[in-house]
């Protein structure tokens, strides 16, 4: 990468870094994991910077990397935590902790399946349209709509019922 592209990338990174870390935190419920995801996404963007720029929207690329990486982390954690003979855990409980000291909303988000969590964050925190969310997640607008609706329903039910589901 030439010095002009390097400077361009550095400027881009400084501008996006806080939002990417927050997205990572919203997806994982862990600030450090969120930073890891954001750092990995930026490294991948650096490695393919000319291609990312040619594609037209670096933000979509970065968000997609973070979402895919968070899915990977959930899967790896699931494999690591599962012992031979254990019943498979429900996906909704992967990032939920019993001794939860996180904000109630983050704890509630962690109880959602990762797909619904992604939709909530992109649609209601990043203010993306359903079509934009569908483009980032690589699914249909209808799927985004149904996931958002289910996520809202789960979050409306409240903590008590969610805890019962976990137990």
């Amino acid at each position: 990468m030439d010095s002009r592209s390097e400077a361009e990338f550095a400027e881009f990174m400084h501008g996006r870094w806080p939002a990417l870390v927050r997205l990572g935190y919203g997806l994982t419920g862990d600030e450090r994991l969120g930073e890891d995801l954001a750092r990995a996404a930026l490294a991948k963007a650096y490695a393919s910077w000319p291609r990312v720029l040619r594609a037209g929207d670096p933000d979509v690329y970065l968000r997609r990397i973070i979402l895919n990486a968070s899915l990977g982390k959930v899967r790896r954690r699931r494999v690591r935590e599962r012992r031979p003979g254990d019943e498979p855990e429900p996906e909704t409980a992967q990032l939920a902790r019993v001794d939860d000291d996180r904000p109630a909303l983050v704890a509630a988000l962690m109880r959602l399946p990762v797909g619904q969590r992604s939709v909530v964050l992109l649609r209601y925190w990043m203010d993306m349209t359903e079509a934009q969310v569908a483009a980032v997640l690589g699914c249909s607008v209808g799927s985004v709509r149904s996931q958002a609706s289910r996520a809202l329903a789960s979050l409306r039910v409240g903590e008590d019922v969610a805890e019962e589901v976990l137990l």
Binding site: F9, A43, A104, E159
Partner: protein
Amino acid sequence: MSIMDERDLRQQLDRVLDAIMPPDAPVKAAARKGKLIQAGRSLGVVAGLAVVAGIGVGIPGLLNQPAREVSHARPMVMVEQSCGTVADGVREIASSPAPVAGRTEPLSAAQAAGGRPATELAAGGCAWLKP
């Protein structure tokens, strides 16, 4: 915790996530890791090309390998029924078969002719290889 509606959810998300104050952007670390990823990709491409080149060179060589020459010379065998007398119809296994010993001829005839024991036959006979 419960969410009343979409507006409420937006406000709560803003409040919770905006409270996160990330450290400075690790530009140098990300660039370093990005360069490693680039190097890994280049290495992968080179390795892939090497494998393709290896296949390109190796496969035709293997396909064009000349067939191993098969020896057409057959050993000459004499069979003797009871390891004592050479059986009737005992022949030399060659291009022009011919009896090599008579029924009453003792086995020693084959030995006397310079033959050597080869193998026991399934039927109980003996095979002798003629020199």
